[in-house]
Amino acid sequence: MVTGVSRDAGARCARRLADDPAIGTVLGVDVVPPRAELGRVRFVRADIRNPVIAKVIAAEGVDTVVHTGVVATPGSAGGRSSMKEINVIGTMQLLAACQKASGVAKLVVKSSTTVYGAGPRDPAMFTEEMAPRAIHHHGLSKDAVEVEGYVRGFARRRPDVCVTTLRMANWIGPKTNSPMTRYFALPVVPTVFGYDARLQFLHEDDGVEAIQRATVNDLPGTFNLAGDGMISLSQAIRRLGRPTLRLPSFTASSTAAAVRRARLADFSPDQITFLTYGRGVDTTRMRTEFGFEPKYTTAEAFDDFRSSLGAGAMTRVTGLLGAGLGALRG
């Protein structure tokens, strides 16, 4: 059973699992019907915030639950309170249902590296054991921490269930539609003046593969997942060839509000701190224990995403420089 299939990431994971011959039936659960084609996935319209989900699990004899239903954007969920409801209460209900269902043997949770927060006191790379240094007050970051807390509680109460938590870096790729991709698609990209965040990305194909791997194999534990390498925010924007608008930090929240009102991108305060300080996660365990090797590095994933956008204004300036250079070197 896969939750959150109305959105792109959930739908792709469900399709990928349905294509695997080793898996019998894949149930896709969500409140609204999916926009994307689900293929062999059987869609069940159910709300994970409602105890009905327990009946679905019992009636269908679900043995594996893949929870991709954590929402990152308040806009798509219909407001921040609704987003919190889906993320936190939804997860609680889902886990309560799983705890009652004796048939459930595996739980895979798609979490996010936002659980580590972002701030000036952060170490360069977070390993899975490290606690966040910055305190979460907002948005997805806070939700993800709470969701993981409930998942840990569930793992304690049902030690027979194999629980895998995947802390994924921001997904990126031609098909991903997230606050991050919409941000980079802005014609002029606003950044915080005087700071340059370090970013890691995970290509959408790698993300789907990782969830499939966690579902098919027994790999209990918490794992950071991210592409190799690191790019800085300024470097990413330069690669896009888009002009940057560097604004002082005190204007960040009003800029975010303006961008939100213009329906260009959806920004919560935790994403602003992320784009100020950045974050890096250590992926040693992803390789050793989880046995997963992303196909794309951070830079390659970003370049794949870039190819889906048009060239920006700055690309032509670079062309000019190249011409002058060529002339000099004959």
């Binding site: 000036p120 006191r121 952060d122 170490p123 360069a124 790379m125 390993t127 490290m130 003046f193 005087g194 700071y195 340059d196 370090r198 390498g229 690191m230 790019i231 800085s232 300024s234 470097q235 990413a236 924007i237 330069r238 690669r239 896009l240 060839g241 930090s249 300080y277 950045g278 890096g280 830079a299 204004a313 700055m314 690309t315 032509r316 300036v317 670079t318 062309g319 000019l320 420089l321 190249g322 011409a323 002058g324 250079l325 060529g326 002339a327 000099l328 070197r329 004959g330």
Partner: protein, 372 residues
């Protein structure tokens, strides 16, 4: 900016750009021709002008090989532009070597604009550090402070080492100077560990990360050392930087010895480094404690010239510097779990501290005067 008129220079619109009298350029450099077929006059003249101002003929080139990997665009139609004049101007201004330098500089600018460079996981940008940050600091190190370096052979040529130094001078100039000195004498970048205040400050934090600094904590220190880096640490921190001028060259407490346990866990040698001269650059005679508390910084310095002379007071005094790297202290011979033995860690910390203190006294005895 990209929409510019095409103004052919001196050629009457004739395509082609040379007469075959090339002597210096390499074939690889031709590959640097970008896909530009429109340009404008002032962008080119501006480039030459900037380089004229920026390139100090006495400053050595950084020694970094320019990145000449680019798409092969030979046979590119440059839209009937003649760059012959530009070439001649550059040759006249900078000589034969200047042509290569301008080309390197343009290649660098192109890499920066297209984002075609790599960062490591700490955010260290070697391209920017080698091409911009270190060359900017080099005149200060060589001309202003006239740094004299001793014992550079104590820094291992390969493998990691932890360089531990005394901290002084109100502003962490000694960190920057040590970074330049190590990079120039060993050819290896020095990765520094900095306070969290640095990363909270706009620009300072950004440039520090790009210049190879990271937050001073055990996780980052051990990670850097495991990857075989030279790591620099100033364990006195703000206690050393912000001590009054009267207490110059008296070492403060060496933190909690975290740097020793990091070195022990990774088994890398500790190289004590004594810096003489940094104490005199901003003689700290007072501290506006109330304002410092208000702003959340450790101190607001009062020096004989600051804030009296305003921004002029920020110019460091040109003291003569001596930097001596001492014999490495090995940490790989301690038994396993030594890093968790606080008594041993304190002992080694004291040993490092005493070594630096003794070397400081020796260097001070040898110094003829503060400024010469």
């Amino acid at each position: 900016m990209a929409d510019a008129d095409v103004i052919p220079i001196g050629s009457g619109g004739r395509p082609g750009r040379g007469s075959g009298r090339r002597t210096t350029p390499s074939a690889a450099a031709r590959a640097l021709v970008g896909p530009g077929n429109r340009t404008k006059k002032n962008s080119r003249t501006k480039t030459s002008g900037e380089d004229l101002g920026g390139a100090d003929p006495t400053v050595e080139p950084v020694g970094a090989v320019p990145d000449v990997d680019g798409p092969d665009l030979s046979g590119l139609d440059l839209g009937g532009l003649d760059f012959g004049r530009l070439e001649r101007v550059v040759r006249e201004l900078f000589g034969d070597d200047g042509e290569r330098r301008v080309a390197e500089w343009l290649a660098f600018l192109r890499r920066r604009l297209s984002g075609d460079y790599e960062l490591d996981e700490f955010g260290y940008d070697s391209d920017l550090t080698d091409q911009v940050l270190l060359p900017m600091l080099r005149p200060m190190v060589e001309k202003w402070f006239r740094v004299e370096v001793r014992g550079i052979e104590n820094i291992p040529a390969d493998g990691s080492a932890l360089i531990v130094a005394n901290h002084s001078g109100t502003m962490p100039i000694d960190g920057l100077v040590t970074q330049v000195v190590v990079a120039d004498h060993t050819g290896r970048p020095l990765r520094t560990l900095a306070a969290d205040l640095v990363f909270q400050t706009p620009f300072v934090g950004e440039l520090s990360r790009k210049g190879g600094a990271t937050l001073a904590n055990n996780d980052d220190a051990e990670r850097l050392l495991r990857q075989g880096n030279l790591v620099g640490v100033w364990p006195e921190g703000f206690k050393g930087l912000g001590k009054p001028f009267a207490e110059r060259y008296k070492l403060q407490r060496f933190g909690r010895g975290g740097f020793v346990s990091a070195a022990m866990r990774t088994g890398v040698p500790i190289v004590p480094c004594s810096i003489v001269g940094a104490e005199e650059i901003y003689p700290l005679v007072g501290n506006i404690a109330s304002l410092a508390r208000l702003l959340g910084v450790p101190y607001i310095p009062i020096t004989p010239f600051f804030p009296l002379l305003g921004p002029l007071g920020l110019i460091p005094l040109p003291s003569k510097w001596l930097i001596e790297f001492g014999e490495p202290i090995r940490t790989d011979e301690f038994p396993d779990g030594a890093a968790d033995d606080p008594m041993l860690v304190f002992n080694v910390t004291d040993q490092v501290r005493e070594t630096i203190q003794q070397t400081l006294y020796t260097l001070l005895m040898q110094r003829r005067s503060v400024f010469f």
